[in-house]
């Protein structure tokens, strides 16, 4: 029995190490190449970093054809705003379904589950013509506000409430004279914080990664987000481009998110199950 267990453990470590190596290897190549100059990269791959990190960074930030600095700011702003709105409003909606008895509760729940199946892409045509009529083309508003209705976050939060939020807590808050909105903000939210953090990361990443809709909405150069700039780089004549700058731009697209993720990952991975009421 003990032997089987330790064999299983060894297998687990081998699989985990291989998968981790796979995840890190490509990023290692990326970082290494971001520190090397174009001629060095052209000569062949090296496992040791070069000395051109500074020049590459300077060149890509001052590139006349790619507004990289505004791209970073735009991406950060849109992703943070939509993550915050999406998590808060969708949790509020899930709470409405979980904590209140009302006539259309079941219908509303099923309706949201049904619309969860509808990808944003299939409504993009109508979406574009609508925001065109509203005068919101080439603006951040149509990239932020729609995230308030996030059926996927709602679905996750309803299941989470069902297993982690006993209604007795809500009842006792009522007895203590807390109004419903206060109860949600100061009692319910802290209890479900771990789930909100997980969903917040997912929402942030989804918005940060989002390329399809922004590329059709944002037209002017200074409003473009990072994915649009990266795609623009791909469609430019690739071989004529300074490869040091290419790798540096990819690094810039990755690093801010990686840092935010690493700061929050402890909280998320450690706190996923840390609901305040258990057993």
């Amino acid at each position: 029995m003990g032997k089987v267990k330790s064999l299983k453990k060894a297998a687990a470590y081998i699989v985990l190490t291989l998968l981790s190596f796979l995840c890190l290897f490509f990023f290692y190549c990326l970082i290494i190449n971001a520190t090397r100059s174009h001629p060095e990269i052209a000569k062949g791959f090296s496992f040791l970093p070069g000395k051109s990190f500074g020049p590459n960074l300077y060149n890509v930030l001052h590139n006349k054809n790619l507004p990289v600095v505004s791209g970073i700011i735009n991406s950060l702003f849109i992703a943070s705003a939509s993550a915050a709105l999406s998590v808060y409003v969708s949790a509020l909606t899930a709470y409405a379904i979980h904590a209140y008895e009302f006539k259309f509760r079941n219908a509303v729940y099923l309706f949201i589950i049904l619309i969860m199946m509808i990808p944003t892409q299939v409504t993009t045509l109508g979406f574009l013509s609508l925001i065109g009529k509203m005068g919101l083309m080439d603006s951040f508003v149509p990239l932020i506000l729609p995230s308030m209705a996030a059926p996927v976050v709602f679905y996750f939060m309803v299941s989470y409430f069902q297993s982690n939020l006993p209604l007795e807590i809500v009842e006792s808050a009522r007895i203590d004279g807390s109004n419903e909105f206060f109860t949600f903000n100061y009692i319910v939210i802290p209890i479900v914080k771990p789930a909100l953090a997980v969903q917040g990361i997912f929402a942030f990443v989804a918005s940060w990664n989002n390329y399809f809709v922004p590329s059709l909405v944002l037209k002017s150069n200074t409003k473009k987000t990072l994915p649009i700039l990266i795609a623009q780089l791909r469609s430019a004549d690739f071989l004529k481009f300074d490869m040091g700058q290419v790798y540096m731009l990819i690094t810039i697209a990755i690093v801010p998110v990686a840092i935010i993720y690493l700061c929050l990952s402890k909280f998320i991975i450690g706190g996923v199950t840390a609901g305040s009421v258990k057993g």
Binding site: C29, E101, Y155, Y211, I250
Partner: protein, 311 residues
């Protein structure tokens, strides 16, 4: 008794008001930014509406003609491409995610450094898909680092031209999707397993249950809701696949449009302002996603009774 009932009823009414109030932001947003666009998309699919050079043709009502012409174009080929690309990524993804989730959640294994491993395997998910594809394009280009390494290790003589072969391109897309999503799936499934009352696992272990028995008899049934969630979202995500093949192949779906996905096709129509065809394609995509997701939803929930789906 009667008075009590009345009091209760009044109480319910006063609180149910809050239920409706809390639903307002979500539904107002949904109405404006999703429902109205969905309706106008359906409406647009019935009209001939495109640009030919500098002249605007339509909009003229043409009924279902757009649907006929889109089926006569390469729709089915692109549908096939999309499904193939999704499957290549999803099979390893769900396989490794389930194994890792069980290992991480297993209180008897006491894996060391599991926080470290979890942090690493989730990392690719925070990477922007477009930049990840650009990275792979650079790394796997003809004289890029991957070919360079393989030649120096003596494994190959001449560079492999991954992006000129059908399965090279598809393999790279599937591989990227796998890497980006298996950590995410692992953490979702693990959270679900950890949410199970650990007394259940302890009792099973004391009764001498084997790992596989615990997995099939306790873990799987209890994490079913989250498992459904993972499957549905991956399926929907697969049909929406766009960023990775778009950037990797520069929107062309090379070689010979064998990695052109449905959304890349839609993007081409939207970009060239062919709204009639884009509308028809959107409606077809809508019907497909809805139908597939409903099938998965009902198969996996049995009958859908658990969450009051009888209505």
């Amino acid at each position: 008794m009667v008075r009590e009932k009345k009091a209760k009823a009044r109480k319910k009414v006063s609180y149910s008001k809050w239920g409706y109030i809390f639903l307002i932001p979500f539904f107002a947003t949904y109405l404006v930014f999703s429902f109205i666009p969905l309706v106008t998309t359906f409406y647009n699919s019935m009209f001939e509406n495109y640009r030919s050079g500098l002249t605007q043709i339509g909009p003229n009502f043409v009924g279902f003609e757009n649907y006929i012409s889109i089926f006569q174009s390469d729709l089915l080929k692109y549908l096939g491409n999309t499904v193939i690309l999704w499957i290549i990524g999803f099979i390893p993804q769900i396989f490794f995610s389930l194994i890792l989730a069980v290992w991480f959640a297993d209180f008897r294994m006491k894996l060391r450094g599991s926080t470290f491993f979890k942090t690493i395997i989730y990392l690719p998910n925070v990477i922007m898909a477009a930049s990840f594809a650009m990275l792979f394009f650079a790394l796997f280009s003809d004289d890029g680092p991957m070919n360079n390494l393989l030649i120096r290790m003596g494994l190959i003589d001449s560079p492999i031209r991954y992006l000129t072969t059908v399965w090279g391109t598809r393999g790279l897309v599937g591989f990227m999707n796998f890497m980006m999503w298996f950590g995410n799936t692992t953490i979702l499934l693990m959270a679900a397993i950890l949410g199970v009352d650990s007394a259940l696992f302890e009792a099973a272990a004391i009764d001498g249950a084997k790992s596989l028995q615990i997995f099939t008899k306790i873990t799987m049934p209890t994490i079913k809701p989250i498992f459904i969630y993972v499957l549905i979202t991956s399926l929907i995500g697969g049909l929406q696949m766009f960023d990775v093949p778009q950037v990797l192949t520069n929107g062309k779906g090379t070689p010979d449009r064998t990695s052109m996905t449905l959304i890349m096709f839609l993007n081409n129509h939207l970009y060239s302002k062919n709204y009639g065809m884009a509308g028809a394609l959107s409606v077809i995509l809508f019907i497909m996603t809805a139908a597939l997701s409903l099938v998965v939803f009902f198969i996996l929930t049995g009958s859908g009774k658990e969450k009051g789906g009888s209505r």
